[in-house]
């Protein structure tokens, strides 16, 4: 069974059709990068996968859950699918530890001690063990983003979605975060990541998907895709961003 299965998905905002029939299958353990121009629908696609956006037609299935818009089903789905955004979205009134422990405790009823152990583990995974009791305010952007990843990991998701998680960061801080993601990829996590870091896509992603005008325009093994773009659109895109 594939981890993510997307079938002919259409999604409009009002009159604007953003996804015009997207199909995509990701197998468990694969890392897939999604690239494309601004506005091509990359974020929207990710958001559809964990049900933050409602699709008009098509079908999305994620690790056994068909995306259905009842609160119950969505919650069940989201326990298995983590998402990390560009803008971290940490809860500012909670410490790093509380940020991480909150969801497992209240949505899965994980006992306090266990949640704590789990939080310490994921925090170590992102290299921030010593920040357990610190408030997000007092962290750098890169550190905040790593905490956001840890928070998602604490839910023990089967699939992780990343939406331009480094684009708000300095080149240096970006490095820290990419390192964590590489680690996850090596650990066998199924990952979909929207990114502008072509080098990163190239080195980490098994496959890369190029979205254009609301469609999967071209896809294939990353190295191949970058070195031998088939469509002129991808060729132009690769050229402009590697400049």
């Amino acid at each position: 069974m594939s981890a993510v299965h997307i079938e002919n998905v259409h999604k409009s905002f009002g009159k604007l059709e953003v996804l015009k029939g997207v199909s995509l299958t990701v197998e468990a353990g694969q890392v897939v990068a999604i690239i494309g121009r601004s506005g091509s629908g990359k974020s929207t696609l990710l958001r559809c996968i964990n049900g933050l956006e409602t699709i008009q037609s098509g079908r999305i299935e994620v690790v056994g859950h068909t995306v259905t818009y009842t609160d119950e089903k969505l919650r069940a789905l989201r326990k298995d699918v983590g998402i990390v955004f560009q803008s971290y979205n940490l809860f500012p009134h909670l410490t790093v530890g509380q940020n991480i422990m909150l969801a497992p405790r209240i949505t899965k009823g994980v006992p306090k001690e266990e949640a704590r152990a789990q939080a310490e583990k994921v925090l170590a995974q992102v290299g921030l063990s010593e920040k357990f009791d610190v408030y997000p305010d007092n962290l750098s952007g890169g550190q905040q983003q790593r905490v956001a990843i840890a928070r998602s990991l604490a839910m023990q998701p089967k699939v992780m979605l990343f939406d331009e998680v480094t684009s708000a960061l300095d080149p240096e801080l970006t490095g820290e975060v990419l390192l964590v993601m590489e680690e996850l990829a090596r650990g066998g996590m199924t990952m979909l990541l929207v990114t502008h870091e072509m080098n990163f896509a190239r080195s980490v992603a098994d496959f890369t998907v190029f979205m254009h005008q609301g469609k999967v325009w071209e896809m294939g093994p990353s190295e191949e895709l970058f070195s031998h773009p088939k469509t002129p659109e991808l060729a132009a895109f690769v050229k402009s961003t590697l400049k």
Partner: protein, 233 residues
């Protein structure tokens, strides 16, 4: 006009004045606590409840914010007995202040809730939380932290407005000084004493709330403040 100030006859009643002060404090603190609880519940209902419940909350808020407090007080004290609910003057005062403050606070907290960025809600959703859990764990604390200054000044205004309760025989600070004034005719002295006492009470409350804010919202400085409309009672 040579006027001789004589505070002794007013100060002779300091025990009586003290009672008034205590009642003012009791009414203010009581209504602040109860009003805040109701306001938070109402905000939750408005955010997550069924549409019609949210609508009722809106009607409640608009009715109470746009009519005079005195009328609300009269309805509770003189009107409720006709449907069999009889409250003492102090109870009626506490109830009226609570309901009034709840309306204003609901509106203020709404501004705070609205100011919480959608991405925070999405983060909660993505972590499989229910709407109620999101409100409780993600939204309400930062929302209140953001509007804490506005809430605080509303609380101080309620303290000052509690004087209106003397209309229905509540012997809070202004009621007590009015009685002393009528007995002694030392009007200026009575009112000067009352004004200074209110000043002290209001400043104390203000400082206390500031401290309380620091205590319960240690991150308050990190959260940007929001503008809140209309903050007077």
């Amino acid at each position: 006009m040579q006027y001789q100030f004589q505070f002794n006859s007013v100060l002779a009643e300091s025990g009586f004045i003290m009672q008034g002060i205590l009642l003012t404090i009791y009414l203010s603190i009581g209504s602040i606590i109860l009003g805040s609880i109701i306001a938070i519940l109402f905000s939750a209902l408005r955010a997550n409840g069924p549409r019609w419940v949210g609508g009722l909350v809106d009607v409640y808020v608009e009715l109470l914010r746009n009519t005079p407090f005195l009328v609300q007080l009269f309805i509770i004290f003189f009107g409720l007995p006709s449907i069999g609910i009889r409250l003492t003057a102090d109870q009626a005062a506490l109830l009226a202040m609570t309901l009034n403050l709840a309306a204003y606070s609901t509106e203020i907290i709404r501004a705070g809730v609205d100011s919480i960025h959608r991405s925070q809600i999405e983060a909660g959703l993505s972590l499989a939380m229910t709407k109620r859990q999101i409100f409780q764990h993600v939204i309400i604390v930062p929302a209140i932290a953001k509007v804490w200054p506005a809430l605080s000044s509303q609380f101080v205004l309620m303290l000052l407005a509690s004087s209106i309760c003397s209309f229905i025989s509540v012997q809070e600070l202004s009621g007590v000084t009015a009685i002393i004034e009528q007995r002694t005719f030392r009007s200026f002295e009575s009112y000067i004493v009352a004004t200074l006492l209110y000043l002290v009470l209001a400043l104390t409350l203000k400082v206390g709330l500031l401290g309380l804010g620091r205590l319960i919202f240690p991150r308050v400085s990190g959260l940007s403040r929001v503008q809140v409309k209309g903050e007077a009672a």
